[in-house]
């Protein structure tokens, strides 16, 4: 493990400036009542004290991206036929996501299993994934909706990040987790401070102890399958749900997408956009049939995917990072923890 150094709070600005000189730096900034990820060139607008409203997902997986653009045209050789010109557009620039929490960053490890594995590689995703690195800030205190330790993570989990900063007195305990992280951390003015690693460990311990005990979720996949046909149960679980997409779009681990062609006349583009399984149209088939017609069906799918099917396919990894955004931002405070525990208690 690399050495833990001390980064004074006042040196953050210079560090961000140094990173911004070479790369796109995305950090949480205030936008009226919300905190969103935006490109920054220094620390002036960066807000690190609260969990960002949205996840940093869009840094690697934008909400809309153009896969290719096309233009139909006629050629002199065959004037009665329409020829087509296609231009692929893969956009990726070196990026640092600065100031996310461990829960926000963990999502990409789950994306990787689906988007970049032995069988298939999504070139758009891969280009951005390979050029994006993370400076993550650990948490010293949980929020009411936090449950990262339920899903094999924790307040100072370094899985998936390049540099981990843990808040301590006067600044942060900083540690490079990867080689790229070392390069990034070298751009900052850090000092050695005796005992700073112990300080960081104490913060991590205190944060974890402030969270109530995590249940064992390894039996949940089987329990979900047992509950599969009990639509009364899933209806009760979704009494409050309005079937919007707030939970899905704010979630760091939700990765479903839709591909549509948006054309105007003879030219247009093929775009990929975030899809959300809470929407009625999610499984709408061209025939008109919809296998998931009610919110009960769709919540069963959401909970099933996150806590059942994905773990079954991926060595028990739960498709959830415990950030709690889906709970805190749900218009009607639907709590996925409650649903999972009710499934478990059946």
């Amino acid at each position: 493990m690399a050495k833990t150094v001390f980064l004074p709070e006042e040196n953050l600005d210079a560090w961000i400036k140094a990173m911004a000189a070479e790369r796109r730096v995305m950090a949480p900034v205030r936008d009226h009542e919300a905190v969103v990820y935006a490109q920054v060139n220094d620390a002036s607008a960066v807000e690190l004290d609260t969990q960002a409203t949205e996840s940093p997902k869009k840094a690697i997986f934008p909400q809309t991206e153009t896969l290719l653009s096309f233009k139909r045209m006629k050629t002199a050789e065959s004037p009665d036929a329409l020829d087509i010109e296609i231009r692929e557009s893969i956009e990726a620039e070196p990026t640092v996501v600065f100031g996310a929490r461990p829960c926000g960053v963990r999502g990409f490890a789950m994306f990787d299993r689906v988007y970049d594995n032995k069988r298939i590689t999504d070139p758009y995703y891969k280009a951005r994934r390979d050029s994006t690195h993370f400076v993550t800030i650990g948490c010293d205190k949980p929020m009411n909706a936090c449950f990262c330790h339920w899903v094999d993570s924790g307040p100072t989990d370094d899985d998936g990040t390049d540099v981990l900063l843990v808040p301590v007195e006067g600044g942060y305990a900083a540690r490079a987790v990867t080689d790229e992280g070392k390069k990034l951390l070298d751009l900052a003015e850090t000092t050695t401070r005796k005992g700073v690693k112990a300080e960081a460990d104490a913060v991590a311990k205190q944060a974890l102890e402030a969270m109530s005990e995590a249940p064992d979720l390894s039996d949940v996949p089987a329990k979900i399958m047992d509950a599969f046909d009990d639509l009364d149960f899933w209806s009760e679980m979704t009494a409050a749900c309005v079937s919007c997409g707030a939970c899905t779009y704010l979630c760091p681990t939700c990765y479903c997408f839709n591909i549509t062609d948006e054309a105007a006349g003879l030219s247009g583009k093929r775009i990929r956009t975030w899809d959300n399984c809470m929407n009625h149209n999610y499984t709408q088939e061209a025939s008109g049939h919809n296998p998931r017609p009610t919110k009960a069906h769709r919540m069963r799918n959401r909970v099933g995917h996150k806590f059942g099917y994905y773990p079954d396919l991926h060595d028990g990894t739960i498709l959830c990072c415990g950030c709690g955004r889906c709970i805190a931002r749900c218009p009607n405070s639907v709590d996925i923890r409650r649903i999972v525990m009710r499934v478990k208690e059946r």
């Binding site: 009542e33 969103v36 909400q63 805190a328 009607n332």
Partner: protein, 318 residues
């Protein structure tokens, strides 16, 4: 007997004839309530009734066709029931309305500005004060600083339509003039500034449709033109123009119908003031046709009809 106890008694008595009653229970922390279904007497124990009960439970009514249900409504929520009756979207006989007079609900954005809303440990509100503790710190704040804007200018604290009422009727605190204050102040800014304001707000929008789905009167559900491919009003792109167009579609389809329950704005996870569009439309309808939605079950919404001579519309002489 408290309002909550009276309500529990009323529901308990009506419950045998109903499939379920929609009410509020405690959510994931003391600052949040959440809707739930009361199916049997034991479920009554979980019910709460306080300033965190902001949700308009009448918004679920159109999804309960064929069932006999009960619903707990505040004053503003009851206007939804009346509007649904006006548009014949619910069978009034199949709905039992439990009304509660309301003194206002807490606004999450205001709470977040005053305290660390993500770490609330306890919350209690009475007529004048909100006592809460967050992060180990106890605070007492005046209720009027934390209630939603719509509550500060509330004209309908008492349900207009109900089968049972729990609690004494309250006096309205607002009038028409104050209700429009936010919009009037906004419209005084130069048009370019207003344009840029909405460009900024729409950029933050994540097109989750929480506003649409929380709206009690948005009944097109899966046929919404906001996400249909045919007709193709808006594309799948999440650029500002498409998101803004969706908001204007939503507001226009509520012209003369919206009862300003505020669910759209409350539901928005990015805290975008989308209610402004609908409020302006309601005030335009009020000014032109002296009509208010959700107040008289027998009234015909003005955009469903016309007059041959319109007193308030000049013939646009050019």
């Amino acid at each position: 007997m408290s309002k909550l106890d009276t309500l529990k008694e009323q529901i308990q008595e009506a419950l045998p004839d109903l499939d379920f009653v929609v009410a509020w229970e405690r959510g994931f922390d003391p600052a949040h309530a959440t809707p739930y279904h009361i199916k049997e007497e034991a479920d009554l124990d979980r019910m709460v009734l306080d300033a965190t009960c902001a949700h308009n439970l009448a918004s679920f009514l159109t999804g309960f066709k064929g069932k006999k249900v009960g619903v707990v409504v505040k004053g503003c929520d009851s206007r939804t029931v009346v509007q649904l009756m006006q548009e014949k979207l619910i069978d009034r006989e199949a709905v039992t309305v439990f009304g509660v007079p309301c003194r206002g609900v807490l606004d999450k954005a205001k709470l977040r500005r005053a305290v660390d809303l993500s770490r609330v440990e306890s919350l209690e509100a009475d007529e004048t004060t909100v006592r809460l503790s967050a992060n180990g710190e106890e605070q007492e704040l005046p209720r009027e600083e934390l209630v939603a804007d719509k509550c500060i200018t509330c004209r309908y604290p008492n349900p207009l339509e109900f089968d049972h009422m729990a609690g004494k009727p309250l006096e309205p605190v607002g009038d028409e003039a104050t209700q429009c204050a936010r919009i009037e102040a906004f419209e005084e800014k130069p048009v370019q500034e207003r344009f840029e304001f909405w460009v900024g707000e729409m950029d933050r929008c994540i097109r989750c449709y929480a506003c649409r789905n929380a709206c009690p009167l948005c009944v097109c559900r899966d046929h919404c033109i906001g996400d249909s491919r045919d007709p193709h009003w808006v594309s799948q792109e999440t650029d500002i123009r498409n998101k803004w167009m969706f908001q204007l579609i939503h507001a226009s389809h509520l012209a003369g119908r919206c009862t300003e329950c505020g669910e759209c704005e409350r539901a928005c996870p990015m805290d975008i003031p989308v209610l402004m569009f609908k409020k302006k439309l309601s005030s335009a309808v009020k000014e032109l046709f002296n009509y208010e939605s959700g107040v008289d079950p027998a009234a015909i919404p003005p955009l469903f009809t016309f007059q041959i001579d319109e007193e308030t519309i000049n013939e646009r002489g050019w």
